[in-house]
């Protein structure tokens, strides 16, 4: 058992449902108790979906506990088949149903005899994988199912398109700025004269999955979802894939160079050269390169920042901050523990330390210890920042509704670099303004804040020392508080008075 208040990645079935409901005309049936269909609320609220989320539950109740699901699951599948006529029904086990150990595959087999839809059982272990891993796996499972089906039926056409073309794999519902990223990637490929073959899973039809191998290569923009599918397609159809996230100027260029390589591998006569395009975009279309050069960004040099998020975003943002803006990343981290190796390799040399954890209190304590000028993290880090008076830019899920903006806000491609530059710069300036206010006595009536998130403080500040502490300008207050407490601990003092404060200051400067 683990004492948990908050989690970065959701349970496995959420990942499966995200993939299933991203496809067009695919329905998911959860084998779950009442109330587990919370996914529908999230999708309807966060994505502001106009359509009913194609997810229903085959309810597990007392009767199911006693006698097993019996006909219930099969009935629910066939009923949904008649009502909605989906192309595919994905039976999704939940953590509850997976301990019941019912033979769900058997239900699927039985239901697929009578229903017109294809029926599959999502193959995920709830106690071993999280939301992101499950999504990756489910996408691969669906793709594999339809490609093998096409192969069996002899309808699989393996010839590639005449013109260079690409599949974009891994855009899906409730993904962090996925919709905008998708539009930006389409624009990028269009600029490079590359046709979009298929985009999956978002908005894709499972019937079209058999045409995936017609593309020249696959583009997997995010580390978390799509890689398994890309690897499957490479192994079975020899399709190359690009897994460099085109986030930031340097990586976008690198991604485009990879595309160039793959395209040139397949064309015989007219070799493409994207270097002029990269140059043009970098220097004049995207403002980010110029921004890094401008005196605005000069002011950010050496400022401390902390980065935390999913593997893709945390790694990319770390590199952008360090490499493209000259900001000092004191610590970077991810909650994608399953991808530790890759992450460490990516951020090597771009940060002082690395934190791999899915415990938000550890992240909070790390931030409190480092006291950066700005945080780039998830909604949780935003709240930690609020508490510690440190500005935060949100760069990764988990997110709130405000991270599903209506306006165009990609993180990928050249427009993405502009958006990121704005985000970074705004976070820091806000911080500066705040400090100026503090220096000139703008709002100094605030209570002293505890910097640490753990509740292990054993020190008490008496009234006078509290007042004294309040007199100290906000931006150094935390530091003084911590130094005093450190001094007190070293000298076994539990009650902090004004004298102790001064003693600590003297000890420190001595």
């Amino acid at each position: 058992m683990k004492l948990a208040y908050w989690m970065y990645a959701g349970p496995a079935h959420i990942g499966t449902l995200r993939v299933a409901s991203s496809f067009k005309n695919v329905h998911a049936i959860m084998h779950a108790p009442l109330g587990d269909d919370y996914f529908n609320v999230m999708r309807s609220m966060l994505e502001r979906e106009r359509d009913f989320t194609p997810v229903t539950a085959s309810i597990v109740d007392r009767h199911v506990l006693a006698r097993g699901s019996q006909e219930k699951v099969v009935d629910n599948i066939t009923r949904k088949d008649k009502e909605e006529r989906p192309d595919l029904i994905v039976l999704t086990p939940t953590c509850t149903s997976s301990i019941l150990q019912e033979d769900l595959q058997n239900f699927v087999d039985r239901a697929s005899i009578t229903s017109n839809s294809d029926v599959i059982l999502a193959d995920v272990n709830h106690y071993r994988v999280n939301e992101l891993q499950a999504a990756d796996r489910t996408l691969e499972q669906v793709v594999r199912y339809y490609l093998e089906k096409a192969r069996r039926q002899g309808t699989l056409d393996q010839s590639i398109t005449k013109e260079p073309s690409a599949n974009i794999i891994g855009i899906f519902t409730l993904g962090f700025h996925n919709q905008h990223d998708c539009r930006e990637l389409k624009r990028l490929l269009q600029d490079l004269n590359i046709k979009i073959n298929k985009i999956i899973p978002e908005g894709g039809s499972v019937k079209d999955l058999q045409y995936l191998p017609k593309a020249w290569f696959n583009l997997v923009p995010y580390r978390e979802i799509g890689l398994m599918t890309a690897i499957y397609l490479e192994k079975n159809f020899g399709m190359p894939y690009i897994s460099i996230t085109p986030m930031g100027i340097v990586d976008t260029a690198e991604c485009i160079r990879q595309i160039e390589k793959h395209v040139n591998n397949l064309v015989s006569n007219k070799k493409v050269n994207y270097e002029p395009y990269i140059d043009q975009q970098t220097r004049f279309v995207s403002q980010a390169a110029w921004f890094s050069r401008s005196i605005d960004c000069q002011n950010l040099t050496g400022k401390k920042a902390v980065v935390f998020g999913d593997a893709t975003h945390a790694a990319s943002i770390t590199r952008i901050l360090a490499r493209e803006m000259g900001i000092r990343v004191s610590c970077t981290g991810t909650y994608c523990k399953h991808d530790t190796e890759w992450f460490k390799e990516q951020v090597q040399g771009f940060c002082d330390e690395i934190l791999i954890t899915d415990d938000h209190t550890k992240v909070g304590d790390m931030i409190a210890r480092i006291e950066p000028s700005a945080i780039f993290g998830t909604q949780m880090e935003r709240h930690i920042g609020k508490r510690l008076d440190i500005p935060c830019g949100v760069i990764s899920s988990p997110v709130h509704i405000q991270n599903f903006p209506l306006g165009y806000r990609p993180f990928l491609g050249y427009e993405g670099t502009n958006q990121i530059a704005d985000l970074v710069y705004n976070s820091f300036t806000l911080g500066m303004e705040d400090h100026l206010l503090e220096i000139f006595g703008g709002h100094d009536t605030k209570e002293v804040i505890t910097k640490s998130l753990s509740t292990d403080t054993d020190l008490t500040w008496n009234h006078e020392s509290q007042l004294e502490l309040n007199k100290i300008p906000g931006f150094v207050r935390g530091k003084i508080k911590r130094n005093t407490e450190k001094f007190a601990r070293q000298n076994n003092i539990t009650n902090i008075t004004v004298e102790i404060m001064y003693a600590a200051k003297e000890a420190l400067s001595a």
Binding site: M1, A4, Y5, D36, S44, D51, V60, D61, I99, Y127
Partner: protein
């Protein structure tokens, strides 16, 4: 309790494929209500994910609840669940030092048959903190019924009412007052008055109200009863665990919410209390009926109640003009539906359907009867009541009926809005203050919000915002 629920009432029962919150969501409002408590939800990532998303911002305010997240080793019994829970509870004791820890059993603990009830007393002894077990799981219950399971479990912990001691205390108190008779005359007069009041209020046997309400609402209801000289001796749950009310066979109890049937049963059967079956104090009509019922049980003639109700209705006039003649469809997810529908019918609305997760016809008998009378008085037929509704079927029915307002969960709200049906998110009724005379306006504030919003948008010509649906899909 009256058993005269007439045959004209029609109850239907559908498939139970409906959307509602998991009952563990009750920790959201209960941990705030019971200030010295700590809620430990023993479940999986799924439960945690639900709570964290459903509670939104609250999660960042260092809540007094946490998940005991079960891992693979717990499921396969490789880990000793007693030792594991002990470790976590020790941690909680160290960090928060609560007066009570409430374990919320979930679907998973049910399925793996974790003996929470068996372990709690043992651990309670070892830890020195009371541990209460409530099985608020999605296998058995819906949404607000979670509170019911917690209150029912808590009812067992209320101290026993011993009337004799109480009486002695009163005598002692007055002795002390006599002793201080050298105080100034004026003061003495005051004390006498106070005593008189005290005597007057003390007339009714102890009355404990059950149901968790925000403290302001609770004191509003208490003072509403006080006006009729009825003294409320306690609330279950109280603001603090250490202040739980005394219970016993002399104690009368009355519910303030329609979803507390287990608590009512526990109070009657296990604590031998006398249950006052009344309509629920939602809406001015409900509040009046609730007070009247309590007073009638104590043989008290109510004073000025009719006038007070009239006054409230008078204040609602602007909202009533908005809702009159409009139709409502309750999809059903929080068990407040019968009472809310009754109030809205009295406001002049037409109710097409009352979906409800579960209906205890005995506990809600007075409310049902009251609803029927309301329908009769407003001369409209009693709407159909659908237990365990099927959301898919309901949406089909809604397409035909085209109600002016659907009261529904968030899963359906946006899709219905896109199809031109106004919706009100039902969960808001659970979190808003809707009880008593004072808060009647708040209920209508919620109900009329979509109607008022649409008055502003009406002439823009884009109420239907879906692409043409070719197939026979919803």
């Amino acid at each position: 309790m009256s058993n005269k629920i007439s045959e004209t009432l029609t109850f239907e029962c559908e498939t139970g494929n409906y959307h509602t919150f998991c009952p563990i969501s009750c920790v959201a409002w209960l941990y705030q209500k019971i200030e010295d408590s700590f809620f430990l939800v023993v479940g999986t990532k799924t439960c945690g994910y639900f709570l964290q998303n459903a509670l939104g911002v609250m999660i960042f305010a260092e809540p007094r609840y946490a998940m005991a997240e079960l891992e693979e080793g717990d499921i396969s019994a490789q880990l000793n669940d007693y030792e594991e829970l002990k470790r976590l509870c020790l941690q909680i004791k160290k960090d928060r030092n609560p007066s009570v820890i409430i374990w919320i059993g979930t679907c998973t603990t049910e399925i793996i048959k974790m003996d929470l009830e068996g372990m709690a007393p043992k651990l309670e002894n070892e830890l020195g903190i009371p541990i209460i077990v409530a099985r608020a799981n999605g296998l058995d219950y819906a949404f607000t019924q979670g509170e019911d399971t917690v209150s029912a479990a808590m009812a067992h912990r209320c101290p026993e009412q011993i009337l004799l001691i109480e009486r002695k205390k009163v005598i002692q108190d007055s002795n002390i007052q006599n002793f201080f008779s050298f105080l100034s005359l004026e003061k003495e007069e005051k004390t006498i008055n106070k005593n008189k009041n005290f005597e007057k209020l003390k007339k009714n046997p102890p009355l404990v109200l059950f149901g968790s309400l925000p403290s302001t609402v609770a004191s509003q209801l208490s003072s509403e009863l006080k006006r009729q000289s009825v003294q409320v001796s306690g609330w279950l749950p109280a603001q603090r665990y250490t202040d739980l009310p005394s219970l016993g066979d002399q104690v009368y109890v009355c519910g303030v919410n329609p979803f507390l049937s287990r608590t009512a049963t526990t109070l009657m059967r296990r604590r031998k209390c006398k249950l006052i079956g009344a309509p629920f104090p939602i809406g001015p009509d409900g509040t009046r009926a609730w007070i009247e019922k309590i007073c009638s049980v104590f043989g008290i003639q109510t004073e000025g109640l009719g006038k007070r109700e009239e006054q409230i209705w008078e204040n609602l006039k602007d909202y009533l003009d908005l809702v009159r003649g409009k139709s409502v469809f309750f999809m059903g997810d929080n068990l407040l539906e019968i009472s809310l529908a009754r109030f809205l019918i009295r406001c002049g609305m037409i109710v097409y359907e009352i979906g409800i997760p579960y209906l205890d016809k005995r506990y809600q008998a007075a409310e049902l009867l009251f609803s029927q009378n309301t329908c009769k008085n407003m001369s409209i037929p009693m709407p159909r009541i659908v237990e365990k509704p099927d959301n898919y079927n309901q949406i089909q029915r809604m397409r035909e009926l085209k109600p002016d307002l659907a009261i529904t969960g968030m899963a359906h709200a946006n899709p219905l809005e896109a199809r031109g049906i106004n919706t009100k998110w039902s969960v808001e009724f659970t979190f808003a203050q809707i009880h008593g005379f004072t808060n009647a306006r708040d209920v209508l504030e919620l109900v009329t919000r979509p109607l008022r919003r649409n008055n502003n948008l009406e002439n823009l010509g884009w109420s239907n915002l879906t692409k043409k649906e070719t197939k026979n899909k919803v």
